[in-house]
């Protein structure tokens, strides 16, 4: 399993993938965090979904992590795309047969791939945290935000909790991507299905019939990073996300184990 993980990390380490992902994540984190701070005194929406996040709010302990968690959904979509393509491309490139000759245990292949996905997710979230917090700290004076509350132990433990939650969201989307990749066996179908579903269909559904929000996977994955919302609790989102992913992953894992590798 660790050999598989090492092999997977070699693939993920390729500069075009790694550098572009890091740059995009860093740039988007910086952009969204900047918006929050630069417009903090405008009295207009500067937060998620047009919320108004005033300097007073940002001056509390939670101000430390606001920028950090604002891009969680985007980190999730990134993980979804990367892992849908990392799994599905083994079929389209025909490389799965090489992997299976060198590691015949299909469950080891799958768990090694999963581990590498988790490591990749940790890297994404770490970059997000570093960039968001640096930008927040840098722009705080400009936005008339005082940062003394950010350095209390309450703020640090909030940072730890947020890190875990954003990571869980990213892993949940990454797992969703792997499920789609194994199911469709084509990167394009897997990515487009995942992105269209999470980014478009779910948003429309949740907007039109707000009661569906409770049941939509992507909405629940992201709700974990936010630590729960007023309408859907953190606990509920954790439970329903885990249920979806465990069922989905079990089905595709069985398929992966049984299916002939004939391409």
């Amino acid at each position: 399993m660790f050999n598989v993980m090492r092999a997977e990390l070699r693939k993920l380490r390729r500069p075009t993938l790694l550098v572009s992902t890091i740059l995009v994540v860093a740039a988007l984190t910086a952009l969204f965090t900047s918006i929050v701070y630069l417009r903090a005194n405008s009295g207009q929406g500067n937060g998620q979904r047009g919320e108004i996040i005033s300097p007073a709010i940002l001056s509390q302990a939670a101000g430390l992590v606001y920028g950090f968690k604002i891009v969680s959904f985007f980190l999730g979509i990134t993980a979804l795309c990367v892992f849908a393509s990392q799994t599905a491309q083994e079929y389209t490139l025909g490389t799965l047969r090489n992997l299976l000759v060198r590691q015949p245990s299909r469950m080891k292949i799958l768990s090694g791939k999963y581990l590498s996905m988790v490591i990749f997710a940790i890297a994404l979230v770490t970059i997000d945290a570093i960039v968001a917090i640096s930008v927040s700290y840098g722009l705080a004076p400009h936005a008339k935000v005082t940062t003394t509350a950010w350095f209390t132990s309450a703020a640090l433990s909030l940072l730890g909790r947020t890190f875990v939650n954003v990571l869980l969201t990213t892993i949940a989307f990454g797992t969703f991507g792997m499920i789609l990749g194994l199911l469709f066996r084509s990167p394009i179908s897997a990515i487009s299905t995942g992105v269209i579903w999470s980014l478009i269909l779910e948003t429309i559904l949740a907007g039109v019939v707000s009661s569906t929000q409770k049941w939509l996977p992507g909405q629940n994955f992201d709700n974990i990073a936010q630590g729960g919302s007023l309408t859907v609790s953190y606990k509920w989102s954790m439970g329903i996300s885990a249920a979806y992913l465990v069922v989905g992953f079990t089905i595709v894992a069985l398929l992966f184990k049984r299916r002939d590798v004939a391409n």
């Binding site: 070699r10 390729r14 490139l93 090489n98 299976l100 590691q103 002939d260």
Partner: protein, 299 residues
């Protein structure tokens, strides 16, 4: 364990069609065995079953003495290239090999040696997608050699290689065989196989037509004597002489083709001389693998 590969009644059915039907054959340990058959005859399907990639519909098999139901027991000692090379286009040749080395737990130090061995030493750092067809094929062969295999399974390894590449693969296979590696190689280049394969498995439409020593297959085919008389008016007389002595014969392009062993050549020469015919040429030819193949597969 005396056989590298041994299968009994091995069968694979896809929907209605049998890709392989009750195949039974054996590849002796430490030998080169050629695997031939027309397109779609089931070679790749057989190889995939031997490597644990697809599950047989029926029958049994062993590779290096272990059942094909437990590929994890023998695959660490098996190198394979199945149906052409397949690698990650965005990684270099060397990185691609390192991915497989990590996966199998082999030292990545072997990568440089292998790239050298297949003539890719100076292009190992280039991305796979920039490789020519022959270079891709060479990388596939290098990947198959990663485990220092006891058994090497190659599916059309010379596809896309230039003449010197084909020769290099032939020599590589010979060298490995002389070091005791068993090789099971499918190919459409029958003249190549004839040079290196001690034994052969021949398929047609999923059925084994022949499995055994190459020598026996060729010997079973009738040899031909080709005689050319000094004057072409004598062609038909020569045909008559051969037929009178119980050999099939016919005129082809100014020569007489007689179905007979080389040993009968001297007798025939004497008979012709006694009939007042001088032969300007007399040669004995043994059927090549290619001719035998066409004969047997009816292609």
């Amino acid at each position: 364990m005396t056989s590298a590969i041994s299968v009994t009644d091995l069968t694979k059915v896809y929907g209605e069609r049998s890709a392989l039907s009750h195949a039974t054959f054996e590849v002796p340990l430490g030998t080169v065995c050629g695997f031939v058959g027309p397109n779609g005859s089931g070679k790749t399907t057989t190889i995939r079953m031997l490597l644990g990639l697809i599950t047989p519909t029926g029958g049994t098999g062993t590779v290096l003495g272990e059942s094909i139901l437990h590929p994890e027991r023998y695959l660490p000692k098996v190198g394979a290239m199945i149906e052409g090379p397949a690698f990650y286009p965005g990684l270099s040749g060397a990185e691609n090999l390192k991915v497989l080395a990590s996966l199998g737990g082999f030292p990545s130090a072997r990568v440089a040696t292998l790239l050298e061995k297949v003539g890719l030493a100076d292009r190992g750092g280039s991305k796979y997608k920039t490789y020519s067809l022959g270079m891709k094929q060479r990388l596939g062969i290098a990947a198959a050699l990663l485990p220092n295999p006891k058994l090497l399974v190659l599916d059309e390894p010379t596809n896309g290689l230039d003449p010197s590449g084909i020769q290099e693969v032939r020599n590589l296979i010979k060298d490995l065989a002389s070091e005791g590696t068993s090789v099971f190689v499918s190919s459409h280049l029958l003249s190549e196989l004839e040079m290196i394969a001690e034994s052969l498995v021949m398929l047609r439409e999923g059925k084994v037509l022949f499995a055994g020593r190459t020598q026996d297959l060729l010997a079973a085919q009738l040899a031909t004597l080709v005689a050319e008389p000094e004057f072409s008016v004598d062609l038909n007389k020569l045909v008559d002489i051969a037929i009178r002595h119980g050999h099939e014969a016919s005129v082809e392009a100014g020569t007489v083709h007689i179905v007979a062993d080389a040993e009968w050549g001297a007798t025939f020469n004497r008979l012709a001389f006694n009939a007042g015919i001088t032969l300007s040429a007399l040669t004995a030819t043994q059927a090549t693998l290619e001719e035998t193949f066409f004969e047997m597969t009816g292609e």
